[in-house]
């Protein structure tokens, strides 16, 4: 076991994957010698050479198009988009190309080796374009896998799994936890399983569901609720597409209540999909409406970031309302 932060865990996973498999290649803006603006690819160029870890011109559609091409040739490109806010120029390549590559060719060609890493989420005074959580746009796209880790051990295990996975993966890294989340990482660990949620804490009164950086928020809210004798079951979804319907349903059947929390705006967010699915399967077991604690339906603001965020206090209030419904 080694203690490290989330960035170090990402870096170590990349290092390990590159050492194991020559087909793993890392690239993106400032990823090369500099090691990335967050240092996630630090040291990789020195170790594996300029041909396997390199800078690209500043073009997101080019980065993902290039990555699609490399993956189609059987390589395992790990492409970095500097901020998730800047993934939209590559939206067409991801949605129309990456996601449909295997299907449209009748499995003659695929880009299953592709992983797109990108820092997401707010809480760092990033304003409109350094704070977004665009996962819901991609969850609507068949053919992609969408993963979000919450801590260093998960980041390492899920990233290794993503690189090995035969499907293209979008890997959203919670940048506000890059250095803040420090934990023990078992370096002998196998890759973590994909599309499996994790029950982080067992409880009996309400199920709390989130992913990535918001898991901290759930923990804090659950502690406050605990002081009021409300027992919270906490689930980390981990994989947003495909997502683990069974684990979530199993929990809600037991607790009879569900709260979903995410940073992204409410309308059209992933919580809507989860709420609809859970009410379909757990209709007779639900004792209160499903609560969604999310970002506001506004662009991500700068000065009023604290007010905007789906924080632990908003979550705590929603827990109390739901339990007392």
């Amino acid at each position: 076991m080694t203690r490290m932060n989330l960035l170090q865990a990402v870096n170590q996973a990349l290092d390990l994957a590159m050492a194991r498999d020559e087909r793993v290649v890392c690239f993106g803006e400032d990823v090369g010698h500099f090691g990335g603006v967050f240092r996630a690819t630090s040291g990789l160029q020195d170790k594996y050479g300029k041909h396997r870890c390199f800078n690209t011109p500043l073009t997101e559609q080019g980065i993902i198009g290039f990555a699609n091409g490399m993956a189609a040739r059987g390589f395992k490109p790990v492409a970095e988009i500097q901020f998730a806010d800047y993934i939209y120029p590559a939206f067409d390549q991801i949605v129309n190309e990456t996601a449909k590559f295997r299907y449209r060719s009748g499995n003659q060609f695929d880009v299953g080796g592709l992983v797109i890493r990108t820092p997401y989420g707010g809480g760092i005074a990033g304003g409109h374009y350094h704070s977004q959580s665009p996962e819901a746009y991609f969850v609507h796209t068949a053919g992609l896998r969408v993963l979000v880790p919450r801590d260093p051990a998960q980041a390492r295990g899920l990233l290794l799994a993503a690189i090995e996975c035969p499907d293209p993966v979008l890997f959203f890294e919670p940048k506000r936890l890059y250095r803040a989340a420090v934990g023990e990482v078992d370096e002998g660990d196998d890759p973590l399983p994909l599309d499996r949620a994790e029950v982080v804490q067992e409880g009996s009164d309400i199920t709390l569901l989130a992913w990535g950086a918001q898991m901290e928020v759930l923990q804090k809210a659950a502690e406050l609720a605990g002081q009021q004798n409300i027992s919270c079951e906490i689930i980390d979804l981990r994989s947003l597409l495909p997502w683990d319907v069974e684990t979530v349903i199993g929990s809600v059947m037991k607790t009879g209540r569900l709260l979903v929390n995410h940073e992204a705006p409410l309308t059209g967010g992933m919580a809507g999909e989860i709420a609809a699915t859970v009410q379909e399967h757990c209709f007779l077991h639900l004792e209160s409406p499903i609560a969604r604690v999310c970002g506001l339906d506004t662009p991500y603001p700068l000065a009023l970031e604290k007010e905007y965020m789906a924080d632990h206090l908003k979550t705590f209030e929603a827990i109390v309302r739901t339990v007392n419904f």
Partner: protein
């Protein structure tokens, strides 16, 4: 390459703007209209078998186009795209490649696929999206692909294959393959951001790729004059630090020669090269388009006289390689074969219901399996409404 940020570009002390209206890039043409080489042209040394194979592929595509456009008009297939007037571009460029080279196409390059060995039955199965289609009937007609022939499956979004070709070629280089990628696209697609992204990335990362632009004058109804103001597409290459050549797209020999030389240069030194072939889209954009609304008969007639098949045929005759009578018999035979293949492919069953959910992922997630199970029940409940699949489902 000069990087102005690192000096070396000199300075001036009176403002002077660079004039974009320099002399236009000249067009490589080897064959005269009468099928003879220009006096100062170098014979590319095309051998007889290759030349005849090129000729047969061009004839094949013309006949297939003719028959299948008619089939679309009869409502037998949903959609079609002809290559009329551009047959030489795809066929002659493919002939200059190695079979190991990857081809990434836009959608008007079926000649390259035929030259590679895609069979008449394979063309038909894709066009009718029946259960034998390599793409499992999922894409619109003319969206061909063949792993065995190194021909990447075509997709509708324009220019997306351009940066992909750069990445594929870069991977070929990393893998130590003695092969490159050739990427086709039209002059309209070259206006997409992916053109810019792909060429710049290929240049900076030294990807062994031939970018082959078919400049046929129109993107659906939009004439090239409303597509760009510069000297076509070839002039852009210099800005990316890429070598370029412009060729007469109706001159199969010139297309062959330009592609052959580009390939040799790239194999010698990994780099991208841009070829712009000038031609004319003689047919409609697609079966859903009628060009009479946006261009004149006279213009079409002018270009009809520059038929790539006719010119190459004359050259073959001058070479003494073409037996006219035998060639005509073969063309008649091919016409019959196409008709027979059409009749064979048309009634074949559609792909099975399960093919709806396979290949979305390497293996279907639970939720997709559940959706298929529900759909299966639905089809069994209303078999007369879902005729393509109902009869094949076991209760």
């Amino acid at each position: 390459m000069t990087n102005p940020n690192n000096a070396g570009s000199g300075t001036i002390h009176q403002a002077r703007f660079v004039d974009p209206r320099g002399p236009a890039i000249a067009t490589l043409r080897l064959l005269r209209d009468d099928g003879r080489l220009y006096a100062d042209a170098r014979d590319p040394g095309l051998d007889r078998d290759t030349a005849l194979a090129m000729h047969r592929s061009m004839v094949f595509i013309r006949l297939l186009d003719e028959r299948m456009l008619a089939a679309q008009r009869q409502g037998r297939i949903s959609f079609y795209l002809q290559s009329l007037g551009e047959e030489a571009e795809a066929v002659a460029s493919a002939a200059a490649l190695d079979p190991a080279d990857m081809i990434m196409a836009q959608y008007r390059e079926q000649g390259a696929l035929h030259y590679r060995g895609f069979t008449l039955e394979q063309f038909m199965n894709q066009l009718f999206s029946n259960e034998r289609d390599l793409g499992k009937g999922r894409q619109m007609p003319v969206h061909y692909g063949s792993k065995a022939l190194n021909f990447m499956t075509i997709s509708s979004p324009l220019a997306t294959q351009i940066p992909q070709a750069a990445g594929y070629a870069y991977a070929q280089r990393l893998a130590g393959e003695a092969a490159l990628t050739l990427c086709y696209f039209g002059e309209g697609a070259a206006s997409e951001g992916d053109f810019h992204a792909g060429l710049n990335m290929a240049a900076v990362l030294r990807a062994p790729v031939i970018f082959f632009c078919r400049n046929n004058g129109y993107a659906i109804s939009t004439p090239a004059s409303e597509q760009f103001l510069g000297d076509g597409i070839a002039s852009r290459a210099a800005g990316y630090g890429i070598s370029a050549i412009r060729v007469d797209g109706a001159d199969a020999l010139a297309v062959y020669e330009a592609t052959r030389l580009a390939r040799a240069r790239i194999m010698d030194q990994p780099q991208p090269i841009l070829i712009e072939a000038i031609s004319y889209r003689l047919g409609a954009h697609s079966s859903s388009d009628d060009p009479s609304g946006y261009r004149s008969r006279e213009e079409e007639e002018h270009w009809r006289r520059r038929d790539p098949l006719a010119r190459f045929r004359l050259w073959l005759q001058h070479q003494g390689w073409l037996d006219d009578a035998e060639d005509n018999r073969e063309t008649d035979r091919l016409r019959q074969q196409i008709l027979a293949a059409l009749k064979q492919a048309e009634p074949l069953p559609k792909p099975p219901l399960e093919s709806l959910i396979s290949d979305v992922y390497a293996s279907p997630p639970v939720r997709l399996e559940q959706q298929l199970a529900a759909l299966r029940e639905q089809v069994l409940r209303y078999p007369e409404h879902y005729v393509a699949t109902a009869g094949r489902l076991k209760k």
